[in-house]
């Protein structure tokens, strides 16, 4: 390194006193989530040693995100959605990336990071976007004053979908699947929401909205466009009061399980610098034919 002279103190000019600066620095990071002092940790006010062994992992996810513990019935419905989302196989880019990463020498944290990173708007966003759609229909119903009965549901649904179509939307997140004619996760999760609604655990409002969307977008088509796992987990997360951002986050938590399992399996299988395809398949070059550098290369 170069010889150094300690002549710089890089900051914006300030007239604050040392105490004011310390106070400002201490407020720079603040959180409602966790209180850590020497020998003490509490999450949302609950001492960690009381949570451990008394409260489940799913309850803790809920507590960390929302500030309070769920009821057992809320946790059970939430848990079903998490279980449904853990994996969809190595043909998904996120899973393939986790596996490729380990063959590049990446440890499990890094393989998981590269994989989770691609759960972006297209690969990881449909659940969140579907929640936003449902909430928009919900807001439309509330706007016209139909809070409790759902008689105007189809109308509100059509209105909202049309708004999106007018804005250029061609397909709706949470409906249809590129691989499954009928997503096997959907009917099972829907029946759990219906049971929870029957028991008063949730309201059932978003299950109705989700079905109304499926009806509306399938109308006039030879084949229904059935709700997929994103469409039905969006119902569950809306029923349970999660925000769309939280919904996306818990999908990522769930899928992280599959990402981890595949990363670890690939480590066991071995392989070095695994590309997307065998070398005997290769890829196709479509660029210019081999050419010399220009004669007048000006440098």
């Amino acid at each position: 390194m170069s010889t150094t002279t300690d002549h710089g103190d890089e900051r914006v000019p300030t007239t604050a006193s040392p105490q004011e600066l310390v106070d400002e620095a201490r407020r720079w990071w603040q959180t409602d989530i966790i209180d850590v002092r020497p020998g003490e940790i509490s999450l949302r006010g609950y001492p960690i040693q009381e949570l451990i062994g008394n409260v489940g992992f799913v309850d803790t996810i809920w507590l960390m995100l929302r500030g309070e513990l769920p009821s057992r019935a809320q946790a059970a419905l939430f848990e079903a959605a998490l279980v449904a989302s853990v994996d969809h196989g190595p043909a998904a880019p996120s899973i393939a990336i986790a596996r490729m990463a380990t063959t590049c020498g990446a440890p499990v944290n890094s393989a998981m990071a590269s994989a989770i990173n691609v759960l972006d708007d297209v690969h990881g966003g449909p659940g969140q976007q579907c929640m936003e759609l449902y909430l928009e229909i919900d807001a439309e119903l509330r706007r016209v004053g139909h809070l409790d009965d759902m008689v105007h549901l189809d109308e509100a649904t059509r209105l909202v979908l049309q708004r999106h179509r007018d804005a250029g939307v061609r397909y709706f997140p949470g409906f249809g699947h590129r691989f499954h004619p009928l997503d096997p996760r959907t009917p099972r999760l829907l029946s759990l929401v219906d049971a929870a609604a029957a028991e008063g655990v949730v309201n059932g409002r978003f299950a109705a909205i989700g079905r109304a969307v499926e009806d509306a977008i399938s109308e006039g088509r030879p084949k229904r466009i059935p709700m997929n796992v994103d469409g039905v987990t969006a119902i569950i997360y809306c029923e349970l009061g999660l925000t769309p951002e939280q919904g996306r986050g818990v999908f990522i938590l769930a899928r992280s399980v599959g990402i981890l399992a595949h990363a670890v399996e690939q480590m066991t299988q071995g392989g070095r610098i695994k590309g997307p395809m065998p070398k005997s398949i290769g890829y196709t070059y479509t660029g210019p034919a081999r050419r010399p550098l220009p004669n007048d290369l000006d440098r």
Copy 2:
């Protein structure tokens, strides 16, 4: 883009038939974990619709990693370790990074990825390294034939620790804490391991090994070097039969909960391009004083 001529097919030369190439390509990605066909998904052989609502999220993590479902008692001990590991506050680089990332415009997947990525050997590895240490002591005991009784435990522990010290190791992963004089998670988790051992859920062998390590490294010191959360979760994961790599992975899964909660909280708080400290604090420049370019700049 440039004008293209389709003249390239980039691959290694092969004499394989098309069918052989297809077969090779289909074997390129293979997995024991998940079977996905149109309309069907099963995890480790279990249809997803049977898992949903019948099997918990923690059971599913275990199933995905290990191939079979845990017993209820195994899952409970595993779950306690997961709950213990969800967060340690925004002073940890991983959590701070998740929060900073959201203020840079990163969506939740990307914020989580940047954060998880730094759970590398130093920040996320001690649990894994501690498992490796315990397993090394376990192997040493087995090597000298003391499989069942633990009378030679202290000797084997000292021998293994000395081996590490001879290789330059100065401190041992899983013991001591930079912040907590006594980690509040340790006694609670240890008592759960002991209870599980008393009920025959686990063997108790690694709880004894962990305590022997604590004794050995504290010997001759004015103050004990107490087991921390990594040391005790390493006991649990070893007792339950996880590999060190899996142990690191499930720590990451658990800590992802805190990472997500902090990312979402920061989104709610707002802020743009949040640096590590307020600008009034700034940073210190220790390089060369301001200087002109050299006179003889040769270009």
Copy 3:
């Protein structure tokens, strides 16, 4: 791992012949950029061994992104923008993250990845967004037919800015700085653009547009809102014909230099699990006071 039975071949049903499948697989990845065969590599058609030593790194960046080599004068202007963007110090979250990552045990690739990842819309996007703004003004000028003279520039600029203000935009990317009253990079880069325009290397159109934006947004304010490094590099990238996406990409390439330098410097400095602030500063907990678990905890 579980006992395995090779019974699955996960794919969508197909009636394609093996040869058709191989052809489809070979077309799955295709590129105009690079031709790699055993013993041969060419970039955009140029053999790598001819590029090496004859063509500069900046020329190669241009070639890779755009398909053809730049003139020397184009490369020089492009290079000036790259040099200007390499670093803005450890108070920037990206740089702080790179440094924190290395203290967590992350190797340099991983530290760089976590850092680059946060160059998202807010931290890394203003240059791209500013290019889009300039191109929108350019399109507005073209729409009304003023291709060559710029007499209607102020009008088009005001119209476009008003469109953004009507959509809720409060500040414009590329103008104003949270730290610098006047960004020292701006006048120097602007003078290089002007010189290049005088020599016919570029058109000068976007330099005029950029200045018109600065005038328009400063109008009626006590103090000008001066163009910052994003505003002026956006001029350069537009003048040189890069797309906004490419502009963001080359900013990231440039900033990666600073990210790397800081990561390596932190490795030299050492440190373990470096948080954003010293522990004596800590953070502020603003959540609920310590509380016991609910009495009626239902599990």
Copy 4:
């Protein structure tokens, strides 16, 4: 969020005065690299406005990493190594990942991050490891006092290689290639090193060491194991005095160019959630056959 009470100040206890705390906080981040004050930026002491337009991008990379500017001849050799490393096509996992990421909705920063992240020990480390090997041979020569003449080079090389073989190393980084019988980048770069050594720009010592390694590992084999791009860039970086860590870093900078170009090309090509292979190829499931949940499922 929960109702909050500002009762927490999470930090380690301290008796430091406010001024001492401020000083500690200000020293928390310190750097020799960049001095940023309102209206002023300098890199390694040089004002940014003097660097822009006068100093090249490659010079700036060198300056940022090493503290001083290179000579023109040093920069030219360094630049040749950077040009050689920009890309190796979409069959490489890093490039494939960048392309897949964009089809998942990831912006260019995020696609680049996921890709760069996998340039870990196996995919991005051989150059660094080869530098370490050369430096070990260099140290061995110095140890036995042969600083200037290289007469004992073969002996020192054999001794070091044997040491690695004894430790279980089966192949050496920087030699051999899975795809190229002869790497087209090697002879061109070697001739540039030789020319630079002839002109006294570099010493030539590491070129000799690299060739000695190639001789030694090829000895007794039917076919030579030729030096690849990592082996020859390792020579260049050692000749120029970079550390192995810096060598890995600059390889990543160079490869980032290819990563960016492929990410942007994929954005132009479009595609959504692009997996590693077409769906008609799919993958192979090798796990347990479909099975019902156990009858005695204990939960």
